[in-house]
């Protein structure tokens, strides 16, 4: 049990989030998958900071990642609502507004 366990777990969580983003067509689920990926990055930052605890750099980075994730969720859900108002669906396969 050491830093390698945390890194392996974080990569598995990142892979779950990435495959969810790639496979699902529901825009809400894709936004949740982005949150999964951001969370796994936080695990890596905190694990390295715990291994090298001379300063707080990793935790400061994780703090900013959480703040940016909050901003991203707010803007992403606003875009989702605007998209739903136009298309009446959340299916990303129908998202062709900028295509033609």
């Amino acid at each position: 049990m050491g830093i390698g366990t945390y890194l392996a777990l974080a990569s598995v969580l990142f892979g779950i989030g990435a495959s969810g983003f790639l496979v699902r067509r529901n825009m809400l689920i894709q936004l949740m998958s982005i949150e999964l990926m951001l969370n796994s990055v936080n695990v890596v930052l905190l694990a390295f900071n715990r291994a090298y605890p001379a300063n707080h750099d990793g935790q400061v980075f994780a703090f900013f990642v959480i703040a940016v994730a909050a901003a991203e969720a707010a803007v992403g859900l606003a875009i989702l609502i605007a998209y739903y108002r136009i298309k009446k669906t959340l299916d990303t396969d129908d998202a062709t507004l900028l295509k033609y």
């Binding site: 366990t5 495959s19 689920i29 949740m32 949150e35 940016v68 909050a70 707010a74 859900l77």
Partner: protein, 167 residues
């Protein structure tokens, strides 16, 4: 790492992976949101094993308290249309994408699983409100102010994008 920390890590890791899998596999978005909530709370517990006490609290406040609630509000606003039909079509590309993801994850996970950095002792204030607060306000003061402006811009942008059109 003491035995208690290892036990907490194993439990939170299992719950975090289960929550993530529920999130990406649930048909209904509300169940996915609950899976995301389980994932986030488990990660907050895992942060405690890494001596990140303030970030565990922030994880609960910001993610579980704000982001998941925001998702649930949007699901409630959209209603039954939030559910998209079953996955169909383009089976080849979807299978290829998930296979590539699994391959990359296996390669990375097996190569980093044996990285061994010593878990040295930490000072008493490592990761507490005092320690992390001093680090943020002394080394990262300018980024801290910039992130507040970023959040303000995000709030204004979200209102501008999501409000109903009146013209």
């Amino acid at each position: 790492m003491t035995g208690l920390g290892a036990t907490l890590f194993v439990v939170t890791a299992i719950f975090a992976m289960a929550g993530a899998l529920i999130t990406i596999s649930a048909r209904r978005p509300l169940r996915a949101a609950i899976g995301l909530l389980v994932h986030i709370i488990s990660l907050a517990g895992m942060f405690l094993t890494l001596n990140a006490h303030l970030l565990a609290v922030l994880q609960l406040l910001v993610y579980a308290g704000a982001i998941v609630v925001l998702f649930v509000f949007v699901i409630m606003l959209i209603g039954p249309a939030a559910e998209v039909g079953p996955i169909e079509g383009r089976v080849a590309s979807r299978t290829l994408s998930i296979a590539l993801t699994i391959a990359v994850v296996l390669a990375v996970a097996t190569s980093v699983a044996y990285v061994d950095a010593p878990w040295g002792p930490v000072s008493d204030e490592f990761g507490t409100v005092e320690g992390l607060g001093m680090a943020i306000y002394s080394q990262a003061l300018v980024p801290f102010e910039v992130i507040s402006i970023t959040l303000l811009v995000a709030v204004i942008g979200a209102i501008a994008v999501a409000r109903s059109r009146t013209e």
